[in-house]
Structures are given as structure tokens and as C-alpha cells.
């Protein structure tokens, strides 16, 4: 049994649904497994599994222009791999993106290969002037997802929520 928190994943999923999200793009990563399964099992959700995270920027942009709210599920390395799309599609064209980024490589990380990306994630978000907030406690999940969605739509810009170890991993 994976120690990824089903309870927290459910809270995140329910908050995304409550904020109107009806399409999710995702590239599987350990912390996202339950969220992806929940999207797959929900007949009201369109799940798009990607080959590379940057595709999700285009898919979300298309969905938004057609009037459908979406969210992107990715690891922070997927965010790093998506930067040109974020800048020269979403920011250039003022398109909202709701990015849920699993924040690997922070305190408590055991996998050496995650640590370089973990060390630059927040600096890169700041450099791109992407408003972001961390989710590390269950009671933050619903209000912060709702507020992130509100800002993305009012400002027509990408926003990010960092899914942290203390929220996602049960033996953190």
C-alpha cells in the first residue's frame, strides 16, 4: 500500500470539482496516483494523460477559450519542463491555468534525483511572477484551491499550488 494520502487526495479532488474543474491533464507521478484515479473514475471529468507536461498548457488553454475550467496535475519537474508553454502561450495570451504541482525535493525527500528540482522550484515560480501557495495541511486545501481558481480567472494568468510532503505522504 502506497503511503500517498487518500484522504488528502480526496480533499484536493473534491475542492477542484467544487471550483468548477471539468478537465484535468496529468502526467503520472507517485504523489498524484490517487488524484489521477479519482479523475479517471469520475464520469463528469475529462482526464487527459500526457506524454509531457507542456502539452497540458495547450490543452488547458484550448479548454479555457472554449469555456471549460481545467486543472493541470504535475510534478515540479514537469512544471520546469513546461515553462515555455506557460510563458509563450498562457502568459502571452492571458489565459488562466490552475497548476497543482507535487513539490518533490523539499525537506524529507529521500530520492536523490528529486533534490535538484526541489531546490529551484519556488525561485522559478517567482521569476515567472506566478502567484503560488503551498498546501501542507488538510484544512488549507479547500479554501486555497478555491482562492487560487478565483485569482487565475480574475487575473487571466497561471497560478500554482504546491502539494507538499506533509499533505501528500502519510509517513512524512
Amino acid at each position: 500500500m502506497s503511503p500517498v494520502s487518500i484522504t488528502s487526495s480526496r480533499a484536493i479532488y473534491d475542492a477542484l470539482k467544487a471550483s468548477g474543474v471539468r478537465l484535468m491533464s496529468a502526467l503520472p507521478e507517485t504523489w498524484l496516483v490517487h488524484l489521477i484515479r479519482m479523475a479517471e473514475e469520475d464520469p463528469e471529468m475529462t482526464l487527459v494523460r500526457l506524454a509531457k507536461e507542456e502539452e497540458g498548457v495547450g490543452i488547458s488553454a484550448g479548454a479555457h477559450l472554449a469555456g471549460v475550467k481545467s486543472a493541470m496535475l504535475m510534478q515540479n519537474h514537469g512544471f520546469l519542463a513546461s515553462i515555455n508553454g506557460i510563458v509563450s502561450c498562457a502568459q502571452l495570451y492571458q489565459i488562466p491555468l490552475l497548476m497543482l504541482i507535487s513539490y518533490r525535493g523539499e525537506f524529507g525527500e529521500r530520492d536523490p534525483w528529486q533534490t535538484a528540482g526541489g531546490g529551484v522550484t519556488e525561485d522559478v515560480l517567482r521569476a515567472l511572477r506566478i502567484p503560488f501557495s503551498s498546501l501542507d495541511r488538510a484544512d488549507q486545501v479547500a479554501p486555497r484551491i478555491a482562492k487560487a481558481q478565483t485569482l487565475a480567472l480574475s487575473a487571466n494568468k497561471p497560478v500554482a499550488l504546491l502539494l507538499c510532503r506533509d499533505l501528500m505522504w502519510e509517513d512524512a
Binding site: T46, G58, A61, A63, G67
Partner: protein, 186 residues
């Protein structure tokens, strides 16, 4: 075949359909034939026009979506062909104008100039209908057949490496974006 002649030949079919193009010559040439509110020109983010088309096609299954891609752009998002194939939007026609070069930055050859076969790659990715065409008559026939087939199609149209004299048009990017979105939502 030139790209502008190919666009002219099918322009009437585009009028009521959702169109997404890549940047550069395709965008400028389609605008020169007549901009419409249902046309969107992704003037950067190379590779993502096909992904935008997928996003639109999935949430607007009752509308046909046409993506005008290029060899340089699709080579930046070959993985996206596997995503297109996986979800197989039957309302999406994906046209790749293949001039075997990065024309707008000086005409440097792309890998299709040395034999990489985009229709073969698309077919191997799982796109159900694929074809390479080299003449205007074949392109027009392939495009009309794709519209009638009602299935995901990638058409690779081999075109000459010639383009417009200028790439910047008087349509602002944000004007295009908001007009297009209003058109899709109406």
C-alpha cells in the same frame, strides 16, 4: 504546391469551423485571406497548436476543429501525437504544412529534409487516418475526405519553402484571443 494556394483552396470550408494555427507564415497567410473570429493564431509556444486543438476538440465535440501545424512545430511535440491518438477526437483534422525547413528564421532544414516521415510517425503514434500529399488537387481531396470521414486525421502537405513578405499583422494577439474565445462560447 504553395501553402497559400492550399489555404485558398480550402478557405470556404474553414468559415464555420474552429481553426487553430501555428505562428509565422501560416498565421500571416491565413489572415491575408481573411481573418474570422473563429480563427486563432498561436503566435509562439511552438508545438502546442495541436495540443490546443485537442483541448478544444474534447470540450466542443459538436464542432469540427482544424489545426494548421508545421514540420518545425510538430517536431517539438511529437509526444503530443500519441496523446492525440490516445483520445482520438473524431472532430479534429490536423494539417501539417511540411516545407522541410524553419522558414521564418532563415530556412534552416528540419529533419523532414533528411527523410523523417511525419505521416509515418503520426500513423505509428496511432492516428487512425494519415496521408502525405504533394499536389494541390491531392491536398484538397484529402482535406475534404477528412472532413467527411468524421475521424481524427493527420494530413502532411508537402509545400514549397516560400512565405509572405512579413509575419507581423495588424491583429493584436490579445484581440485575437478574446474575440476567438467569445466566438467559441457563443
Amino acid at each position: 504546391m504553395t501553402r497559400i494556394d492550399a489555404l485558398k483552396a480550402i478557405y470556404a470550408s474553414l468559415e464555420e469551423r474552429i481553426v487553430v494555427t501555428i505562428m509565422g507564415a501560416v498565421a500571416a497567410e491565413l489572415q491575408s485571406l481573411g481573418h474570422r473570429p473563429n480563427f486563432f493564431y498561436l503566435q509562439h509556444a511552438m508545438g502546442l497548436a495541436s495540443s490546443m486543438g485537442l483541448g478544444i476538440a474534447l470540450v466542443k465535440p459538436e464542432r469540427q476543429v482544424i489545426v494548421f501545424d508545421g514540420d518545425g512545430s510538430i517536431l517539438m511535440n511529437l509526444g503530443g501525437l500519441t496523446t492525440l491518438a490516445r483520445y482520438r477526437p473524431r472532430n479534429l483534422v490536423h494539417v501539417i504544412f511540411d516545407n522541410e525547413s524553419l522558414l521564418s528564421v532563415g530556412g534552416f532544414p528540419t529533419a523532414t529534409a533528411t527523410g523523417s516521415d511525419l505521416a509515418g510517425i503520426a500513423a505509428a503514434a496511432g492516428i487512425p487516418r494519415t496521408e502525405t500529399v504533394t499536389t494541390l488537387a491531392a491536398f484538397t481531396r484529402a482535406f475534404d475526405e477528412a472532413l467527411a470521414a468524421g475521424d481524427l486525421t493527420t494530413i502532411v502537405a508537402k509545400v514549397e519553402a516560400v512565405g509572405p513578405s512579413a509575419y507581423v499583422t495588424d491583429l493584436s494577439l490579445l484581440e485575437n484571443r478574446f474575440q476567438f474565445s467569445r466566438s467559441l462560447r457563443s
